[in-house]
Amino acid sequence: MIASAKLKNLEARHRALRGLRDFFDERGFIEVETPTLVRSPGTELHIEALEVVGAGERRYLHPSPEYAMKRLLAAGMTRIFQVCKAYRRGELGHLHQPEFSMLEWYRSEAGSEAMIADTEALVARLAELLCGEARIGGQHGPIDLSPPWPRLGVQQAFERFAGTGAADFAALLDDEERFYRVLLEHVEPRLGVGRPTVLERYPAQMASLARLRSDDPSVADRFEVYVDGIELCNGFGELTDAAEQRRRLLAEQATRRQNGQPDYPIDERFLSALEAGMPESGGNALGLDRLLMLLLGTRDIAEVLSFDDAAI
């Protein structure tokens, strides 16, 4: 038995997909599809992949299409987007499913700023399409989605919402578990209240695949958008320096081995593409299911899926 509210949500998903395809098409983006079965699922410390048995040589379901999409940028494509399923092992909750829908897009000759502007315009546009206005209800009252959105640095956010001083913040960066406890307990719930929050200036330790900011190399050119306490997307001014990228991947791989986590190979074809030359680029990955949750006013990801993990 499927509740009629859910069928309405599936129709809304269809309209959102059409809307976002129009949005990117109007802006000169090409929709691409990249393999979901990959050789390297990445070396992120806190993202575990699902291994596929029986695919010949070992394969994984991709946790994100970013390596393949960056290879397309290096090959000369300039504006690309993709809507795909992505997979992450062990992630299951009100905001997580082991299989979820990701919207990812890239622009060459661009950085974070262009990606933030795209995100603002896209979210406002889809809200107008689904809700009739760039405004949604939140847990603490209405949220005005119209651009531009307020910015907040990570350190600033910790100071404002958790009372973390500069010295304490530096100490938190050396204690990953505590950093994320404070983020989850005190900071995240206060982000995206009234207006979306663009959380930016991530500490260099959390640069991931982002370049460091030229104006302040202690922080990365990385941002996330929060709406109503929910993390919606993660964007980068992409790291294009192949040597630096290799150093980061090797360091993560070594840490994973040390922790006894599954040992994932480094994607050499991705690194070769960087070596051959990837243009300055911006990229953003947005959780499509979460955006639908926010626009449809539900706090449970299962409500926007045809069948969630418990229903398959």
Partner: protein, 187 residues
């Protein structure tokens, strides 16, 4: 040992020698950050609820719980007396450990008594119990509209909403999980 992936509602764990039952839980994780399971835990000795966030993969110690079926005999002041029907051994439990469950106890009811480290700390009543209506307003004959209810007091003092056709002295089947009326028992 359990770890965080075993967490579900009702899971019983112990921390510093105190047994807790999971009341609520939620998986939380920033996209590129550490995963946690946020829980609300009920102290099974005091009933107090506390919040605790475990890092994913953290080990949890199962509570050394044991359940024994016993028969409820009678109440004496704030003590409830139960008996093991095999050994005839009797056990007294203070009202604090019975709490709301006292509304499901009539003489002879079989319950599961919960032991933690050999000490009785609570009971689980049967899923359904049959209780007699001691007081309710007369219903209206012929009114079968299903969304209309009235209140009834049962022999244990429990107050429930019942359909209008229920009359005084009738026996009702009560769902102890919800504390609500299930059906009329015809005898």
């Amino acid at each position: 040992m359990y770890d965080t992936s075993n967490i579900k509602k009702g899971l019983k764990i112990q921390m510093d020698g105190v047994p807790f039952a999971v009341v609520e839980f939620q998986f939380v994780k920033p996209g590129k950050g550490v995963a946690f399971t946020r829980t609300k835990l009920k102290n099974m000795m005091t009933g107090a609820v506390l919040e605790r966030t475990f890092r994913s993969g953290e080990k949890l110690e199962p509570a050394a719980m044991e359940e024994r079926q016993m028969q409820y005999l009678y109440r004496e002041g704030d003590r409830f007396v139960f008996m093991d029907t095999a050994s005839y051994e009797q056990l007294e439990l203070a009202e604090d450990f019975i709490a709301e469950n006292q509304y499901y106890l009539v003489d002879g009811t079989m319950v599961d008594v919960l032991f933690f480290n050999e000490k009785a700390i609570g009971i689980t009543p049967p899923t359904f119990v049959e209780l007699r209506v001691t007081q309710t307003e007369p219903g209206f004959k012929g009114d079968t509209s299903s969304n209309t209810t009235k209140s009834a007091v049962l022999e244990t003092g429990l107050e429930v909403q019942v359909p209008l056709f229920i009359e005084q002295d009738e026996l009702l089947k009560i769902d102890t999980r919800t504390g609500g009326y299930s059906e009329r028992v015809k005898k």
